[in-house]
Symmetry: C2
Subunit: 251 residues, 2 copies
């Protein structure tokens, strides 16, 4: 779990450096229970003690300063004091990607949270190796990335969905930006505003039949990412960066 | 070493999937020696044999198709046949970054090569943990990334340079784009054309005195990367993506 100080908002001193995601309501005077792991992290890893301040967020209520009341082996209690940052949701953009090797999948989840997405959707394609994913592990990874990045929002990680099923039930009005490796040498710059989604294929690319299907969809938009071959994880970060700078909250 | 097929140029069949960087001259009929490691890779890892085609590049002469003549324990011989891709150099943009943990440093080198830089400059700052780097290891990593990304250019990895020394000897006319974590909520879009450089600080950021010095430099340009905190490796990819799409060869 992270220790980097948030770089945004409020007076720096008001925002504790250690940040934890919790599932409970946050309000002044609220007692908040933290898990066994979190209690261990605060007490044994960070060497914190009762009276020390921790920043808490639950994904909807902004960030709150809380004081440690008690840390025990089975969990801890914190006392919620005052808000230190407003809730800040990212734009409504999804990261749709084919899971690859563990490290690079973790990386895509981490980077998607940092750069700002509303939802993470692992998709199963013909050339995807993964038959299933550890959704809970990826969700925990997204939470850790939010703790680290000073964010107050945690995108939901969806279950692994077969590409055809995802496309059949695609929500109306949401553009799907396909980082299409067949397009090279130019960046498509007219990305659509939210709601949107970025689609990143597996390392081996999409199959010919998947490519044909994708190209025919009315909500598909093509995105070119320069003249060199990008790995899937690089393409994910680059595509989201372009979208955020053109249509997201980086403007 | 990589197996992904290049996604650009030529007729697909003309470009062998296995690509190797060599230091020798490449020309029609040229005999090329490959190293012990490369011979092992071709013969034992990729299960290739005399007569099989390999793509070779040396960083200056484009890409050539070569046939395996002999693979032995001590090295191999290939016969250079015909050019399969023109030499393609990236724009003159440097990636200047403070080395962080091994995995994330490797990652920055890999991504810089994929996204396209002319030089990689590890820099020592006050909050940089690394006292030295394994320059040869990072250079090998850059070569591997070029092999993987279908590129024909390999950026040089410079020695670890203390920030003050780098700044004192800064070349005239090269803008230094500082991914300044104190700037949030907006993307600076008027990036300068080449020659340019991207500057990424260590995880803990630059020290106050470094920040003061950087801000006063005539060649410094500020780059904001959105409202969330980005890790150093994310900032490196995002900054380079923006530069490439606005002023590099992604246009």
């Amino acid at each position: 779990m992270p220790t980097n100080p948030p770089r945004t908002a409020a007076k720096p001193d008001d925002r504790p450096k250690v940040r934890l995601y919790v599932e409970q309501a946050l309000a002044e005077g609220q007692h908040v229970e933290v898990s066994q792991d979190q209690s261990h992290y605060l007490g044994n890893v960070m060497r914190m003690a009762p009276g020390d301040a921790v920043a808490l967020f639950n994904g909807t209520a902004g960030e709150w300063r809380a004081r440690i009341v008690r840390l025990a082996k089975r969990g801890g209690i914190l006392d919620c004091e005052a808000p230190t940052a407003l809730q800040a949701n990212p734009p409504d953009v999804w990261m749709v990607f084919a899971p690859i090797k563990k490290t690079r999948t973790d990386f895509i989840v981490e980077k998607a949270v940092e750069l700002g997405v509303s939802r993470i959707v692992p998709v199963q394609t013909e050339f995807t190796n993964a038959e299933r994913i550890r959704r809970d592990r990826l969700q925990a990874h997204a939470i850790e990335a939010a703790e680290q990045s000073g964010g107050t929002f945690v995108p939901e990680v969806a279950d692994l969905t077969p590409l055809p099923r995802l496309l059949s039930a695609w929500p109306e009005g949401r553009a799907l930006w396909w980082a299409n490796e067949a397009l090279t040498g130019q960046t498509t710059c007219d990305l659509a505003p939210a709601p949107a989604a970025i689609l990143i294929g597996p390392e081996g690319g999409f199959s010919p039949s998947e490519r044909t299907r994708l190209a025919a969809l009315p909500f598909i938009r093509h995105l070119a990412l320069g003249p060199r071959i990008l790995r899937a994880d690089t393409a994910a970060v680059a595509a989201l960066t372009l979208w955020q700078s053109l249509h997201g909250d980086w403007r």
